[in-house]
Each structure stands twice: as structure tokens, then as C-alpha cells.
Symmetry: C2
Subunit: 257 residues, 2 copies
């Protein structure tokens, strides 16, 4: 891909694609990661590549849950680190919580690549959000030495840190796999997912689902995290929120045809 | 990915994914190819992963156009060869026409990988369709030495063979780029596209668009090519056909929500 000017109508989408293909080249991603990203692109197309009202509400609710958590944690995988590692480190810095790498296809090489990338991304995070530079430098990055397991989940993706995911009450999990989302909810945790497919198992199983593109919604989430007056809505109806998202997609698809 | 039994509900989708990740490993694909496949997967999900009635009609119309063509040609790219090279060779064998490799990101290495893969796929095609083994062995595979250019198209993707795409009256182009589709239509050619996104420029610009998954629609197309009584419908309304596909997607999305 040649140089793309920031004024290009599809600049954000092309930059996301570039971050992912670069990450694939450095061994950070499983082979199916680019395919998963493409699926997301199609659903984002059906959202008109903008944050819909229902997503805006979910973002505020996720901020409220994270702010009122005892032990929040941010769980990241390859695509997440590639697309928005610095923003997620900043989110963790604001919440004073760890970031934990947890991936579906766990190999020592991929774990090492992701942990190294996150360490390097502290600098990018500090450049983007200099007001949090102190906290960013202190964010614990977990994943290297898991000492716990998520119950009812097979394989290495169940591995986690006792002082990270295992003991968390509220988890922010962008781009999650459906099984793991379900297992975390079954543990009684508040699972805040970010997923572009409103019909996915993750979207349906999570406590709160932000149906929005990761790099577009995180600046909005960071804005909301500054607002310490946000209070969780104990009557949050995730199913209704997802139906609102689908209605928006139906409207856009109908208009485009 | 471990062994997947053919009875798995998502067998076809998982096999398609495996063919593509294998092809990526052998250098057949551009770096954005897996992302494009993922976009297709999402649209196929909205079709319920089945061939809808509108697509069935488009397949028959494409068969009729190919059967009545003077100089048909089948244009293939990386994803096409990876997913359905043998079926497309068989299609060419039945039509007694060439297959021409034409790719967006043309490098000598990728062209070589694709031309070699097609040569090897003659054997797979013969195993699948033994009744055409003689014709399959004779299908000209073009692309190595382009001696013509598609007008009004920049870059190496405009390169083509004078006795292939340049002189064809009817072109079957699965998974085409929008610019090239438009340039081929502007040359007065009948462009038969296969594209899972009914809203894409390719889908909208082509003469006939089959909105269906490549490996699912090709056996149906091959069936139709045996029926030599098919006659082209000169009043084919592609826009209306695409609207029918979108209606089907709207119905499925609405039901799923």
C-alpha cells in the first residue's frame, strides 16, 4: 500500500488494515486474524463506519462499570494490540489496572511478540496522552506467567493470571472469542465486550457490548473515563441495545440498496 | 486448525479459510487478501450461508452468456485460485476457453506462484470432473506474458493478454476489483462477476452479478453449463436482482436480531 493522505475518505480503515498487516509480518497474529478483521470491516460498513447512538450509550455504560469496579482488567489479543495497544494501555493507566494478554492460539513466540509490542507501545501511549505518562509507565502487563485457569474452558486460552483476569470483577475484552466470553460471564464477572458483529455469541453473551470499531470507540471511552460522576445502570438491557444496533444496520442496508 | 470433520456445521467455511491461509503461506496472496475474504464471510453470514433465489437466477444467466459467447475468458486472482482453481479450470474446459491470471498487486513471485498452482490444479480438476479430463489438460493458462492493456486503468492490473481478456466478449471475473470491472464494462464486454457484497462497486457495475460464495456457486454454474439450451435474457435487470439479494439479507438480519 502506498502513502495514504489523512484526508482520504477511507483513511481510518486503510490505516487499521496497515497496522494489522504490519503486525502479521512481525508474528503477532494467528493466521485467521486478518480474516476476522475483514468480517469486522463488513459489519462496520453496515454501520456506515460511524459510532451509532446505541454504541454511544454502551460506551458510557462500560465507562461507568469500569470506574466503579474493584478490580478491573483489560484483556487483549493480537488484533487488539495491533490496532489499539496504546489506547488500551492509556485506559488501564486511567483505571490503575493491568493489561493481560490472553490469546486463542497461544504459542511462546506470539506471546513474546505481543508482550514486547505492548512494552514499546507505552511510548506511543505517552505521546498520545502525555497527561497520563506517569501512570502509563506503571501499567502492569500480564500474560507471561499465568498461574490460574478460567473454569469450563479448554486449551491454553483458559490460562490467566490470578492477580489479573481471575480475580477481576469487571473485564474489558475487545474482540473476544464467544466461548471465553461465556466462561467469564459464568464466573460472575461483568464482561464488557467490543465487537462489530451484533449477532456474534460474544455480543449476545457479554454483560455490555459496544458494537463499534475499536479504534473509533476507544477515544470516546477514554473521554468518558475522565467523567467520574458516571453511575452504572443496574437495569442495563444489553439485548435491547443490540436490537437498536441491528435496526441501524437494517436502515443503512435498506438505504444503500 | 485441527482436523475438522465434514459433518461440522461450518465445514465449508472452515475449509475455505484453510485453503486461503495455506495459499498465503505459499506466497500466492497479497497481504490484504485474507481481510477481503473476511469481508466476504460476513456478507455470506447475512445470506445464511446459502445460495439465495436471486443468486440462482444470476448463475443461470451467467451460464447462458458464457455458452453463447464468441470468446469467453475466465479471469482469476489469488483468492480465486486458492479457493476454486480446479472448478474454474473445469469451467474453462467446458467452454473451451482460457483462464487468465490478472492480479491487483502484481509481482513476478506472486504471478509465478499462481501460474504454478493452476498447473498443479489441473490434476485436482481431473479428479473432481474426470469426464472433462481431456479438455482440462488443454485449457490455456494465460498471464505470464501480457501483450495488451485495458484502457483507462492505471498500474500493472491493466496488463492483459491480447488473445485472452483483451479480445474476450464475455468475461467471468470472480472477486473482482471495482475499477477494473468498470473499465471492462466500458470496453463493451459482458462482465459476469461473483461477489458476496451486493453493495460493492463491482456488484453494481457488472453486467450480471452472482452474489454467492465462490465455492458454493461454482458447482451450480458447472451444472448449468451442461445445459446448452440456456438462452441469454437480453432484458436482464441486474439492479433488480441485487435488490432481491439485499431483501434476503434484510430478512435474515431482521430474523437473527
Amino acid at each position: 500500500m502506498g502513502e495514504v493522505p489523512p484526508t482520504h475518505p477511507r483513511y481510518a480503515s486503510l490505516m487499521a488494515r496497515k497496522r494489522l498487516t504490519d503486525a502479521a509480518a512481525t508474528g503477532m497474529l494467528a493466521e485467521s486474524a486478518l480474516i476476522a478483521h475483514g468480517r469486522g470491516e463488513a459489519f462496520d460498513y453496515l454501520l456506515g463506519e460511524r459510532t451509532c447512538d446505541a454504541a454511544r450509550k454502551a460506551i458510557a455504560e462500560v465507562a461507568a462499570r469500569l470506574l466503579s469496579a474493584e478490580n478491573p482488567v483489560i484483556s487483549v489479543n493480537g488484533n487488539t494490540v495491533a490496532l489499539a495497544g496504546p489506547q488500551l494501555l492509556t485506559c488501564a493507566a486511567m483505571l490503575n489496572c493491568p493489561v493481560e494478554v490472553n490469546i486463542y492460539y497461544r504459542t511462546p513466540e506470539r506471546m513474546e511478540a505481543l508482550l514486547s509490542a505492548l512494552e514499546l507501545q507505552r511510548e506511543e501511549a505517552t505521546t498520545l496522552y502525555p497527561e497520563f505518562h506517569q501512570q502509563i509507565s506503571l501499567v502492569p502487563i500480564l500474560g507471561a506467567t499465568p498461574d490460574g485457569r478460567i473454569p469450563n474452558l479448554d486449551g491454553p486460552r483458559a490460562n490467566c493470571h490470578a492477580d489479573g483476569i481471575l480475580s477481576a470483577d469487571v473485564i474489558l475484552v475487545p474482540l473476544e472469542d464467544g466461548d471465553r466470553c461465556e466462561a467469564l460471564v459464568a464466573m460472575g464477572k461483568t464482561v464488557c465486550a467490543i465487537d462489530l458483529n451484533p449477532l456474534s455469541r460474544t455480543a449476545k453473551k457479554a454483560t455490555i457490548t459496544i458494537v463499534d470499531e475499536l479504534t473509533r470507540c476507544l477515544p470516546l471511552l477514554l473521554d468518558d473515563l475522565i467523567d467520574e460522576t458516571l453511575i452504572p445502570d443496574e437495569n442495563w438491557d444489553n439485548e435491547q441495545n443490540l436490537r437498536q444496533v441491528v435496526s441501524e444496520m437494517l436502515r443503512i442496508l435498506d438505504d444503500a440498496a
